[in-house]
Amino acid sequence: MQSPIKYLSHKGWHQTAIIAIIGGIYILGSQILNFDNLNGLLAVPKAFAWLGVNFKPTAHSMQYFPRIWQKLIQTVLLAISSTMVAAIIAIFVALLGSKVTGINGFVQTIVRAIASFFRNIPLVAWSMILLFSFKQSDFTGFLALLLMSVGYLIRAFMEIIEDEASETMLALKATGASYFQVIFQAVLPQILPSILSWILYMIENNVRDATLVGILTGTGIGFIFDIYYKSFRFDAAGMTVLAIIFVVIALETISNQIRKVIL
């Protein structure tokens, strides 16, 4: 066994080394990227002062409100529907691909590869490719969010099945229940709360991502923010941001309340 002094000196050396490495990476990184730390830090209060003056919605900007609100609701609906369609696809794929309920090793590997492929293609790439074929419409935004969510949800659902349902699966198989009986009577009901929790998380996430998709594909709240921002109508842009904050926090609060009840 180590002596306490030796242990402490080793620990101290270890910590210093890690801090030095991280600090070194940071300094080198800011050199390469030409990031001026001091000016960057000074820009923060300047940005907020600027925000306070220019982004403040005035009585004049109330005229934009109905349009912003309509686009925002549209974005939320799009986020919900893309998440739900993705969830329905993902649950079947996850059942096929998880180690517990999966068919065989080959299918499992394929499913895993496809899921991580979909997950890691940047949202920007999906948006731009889809924009090229599907033009500027809500459907494009829907598809981009859907393709992104599918990858995430397949992985999440597979992990849920493997974590929560493996014992149930074993127990019911031992009683002689058929594969479909086990899936529909035991596995699905058991994992439903966790799945719902993930769906709620994905909806929140998709509302935020929809802003990016919107800026790129010209749909929903992102598009309207981009228009106001680029035409220097900053009071309207500020109003859009306030509306986004309101909706995201409301969604977060609602899903936290739902999670408290179901989990």
Binding site: Y26, W50, I80, T211
Partner: protein
């Protein structure tokens, strides 16, 4: 005689209810049902009222297939050349590492100040509300806001990404800190240890594994965000190249190569994250 026989040979008692209840009624079950049904109804409504701008789906799908074929089966470096793309990729990776470091340092400080079991309730609540507001604003909007003050470029991207990272990590870390057994903190307080001594000698060693996990999750998110900010806010890096290739010059061969490069980097980041997490969990 018959009486005693009856009492000896008793029939086995049946349970009172003739049916076995398969599903117990509970608030949780009702809630799940209600939420699922309402979400499905919303989905149905949205999908039937979706604006498709009169696109012929068959035609569009055929075009999409051609594009995907060009992207994934015939990738090449296009007019920009591989060295330029690699440089842009390196810049994006550095951007995500830098912002994650900033996020981790400030996030930990704020998390300590915001955790319910460490500080007074008002300060904690104040920080949590501010962080919730910062988190609610998408990264891309933060980057656009900062780009007005600092001009388009790396500084705006770094500030924008850092802001969201700090808010995200503050929440993640403070949840880990709040999970610590209170007895640990109390016993150190009794010995007269100062606040920061408690933080670095008791709290830090306890949460270091989850700290590392959350930081690496954020690194992966930041890499994805760095690409998004590069594309939509013109902040440079591989995201900008991706945007130009796919949205301006329509060179889908180059887009394909960029996507492959990005996927490669995310795999490497994931691999490193798994290794480091294992190291900290097994200690």
């Amino acid at each position: 005689m018959t009486d005693s026989q009856d009492s000896i040979i008793q029939k086995s008692k049946l349970p009172n209810s003739p049916e076995i209840k398969l599903h117990e009624r509970s608030l949780s079950r009702t809630m799940i049902l209600v939420v699922f049904v309402s979400l499905l109804l919303i989905t149905g409504y949205t999908l039937t009222h979706l604006d498709t701008a009169g696109v012929q789906i068959n035609q569009a799908l055929k075009e999409l297939m051609t594009t995907l074929n060009q992207m994934f089966l015939q990738p090449n470096a296009g007019t920009d050349g591989l060295p330029l793309l690699m440089e842009a990729l390196g810049n994006s990776v550095l951007l995500s590492i830098l912002t994650t470091i900033i996020g981790a340092v400030f996030g930990f400080l704020f998390a300590v100040l915001a955790s319910k079991n460490l500080t007074n309730a008002y300060l904690g609540a104040g920080i949590r509300v501010i962080m919730a507001v910062i988190r609610a604003i998408p990264t891309i909007i933060w980057a656009l806001i900062f780009s007005i003050v600092c001009g388009l470029g790396t500084t705006a991207a770094i500030l924008g990404l850092s802001f969201h990272s700090i808010a995200y990590l503050t929440k993640a870390y403070s949840e880990s800190i709040e999970g610590i057994d209170n007895a640990k903190i109390e016993s150190l307080k009794v010995t007269g240890a100062k606040f920061w001594v408690i933080v670095f000698q008791a709290i830090w060693p306890t949460i270091v594994a989850s700290f590392v996990s959350w930081t690496f999750i954020r690194l992966e998110i930041n890499f994805a965000n760095a690409i998004a900010v590069g594309a939509a806010a013109g902040a440079g890096g591989i995201g900008y190249q991706l945007f130009v290739a796919s949205g301006m010059s329509f060179d889908f061969h180059e887009t394909g190569l960029i996507v492959y490069l990005v996927i490669l980097v995310t795999f490497v980041l994931e691999f490193i994250a798994v290794k480091i997490r294992q190291y900290y969990l097994n200690r």
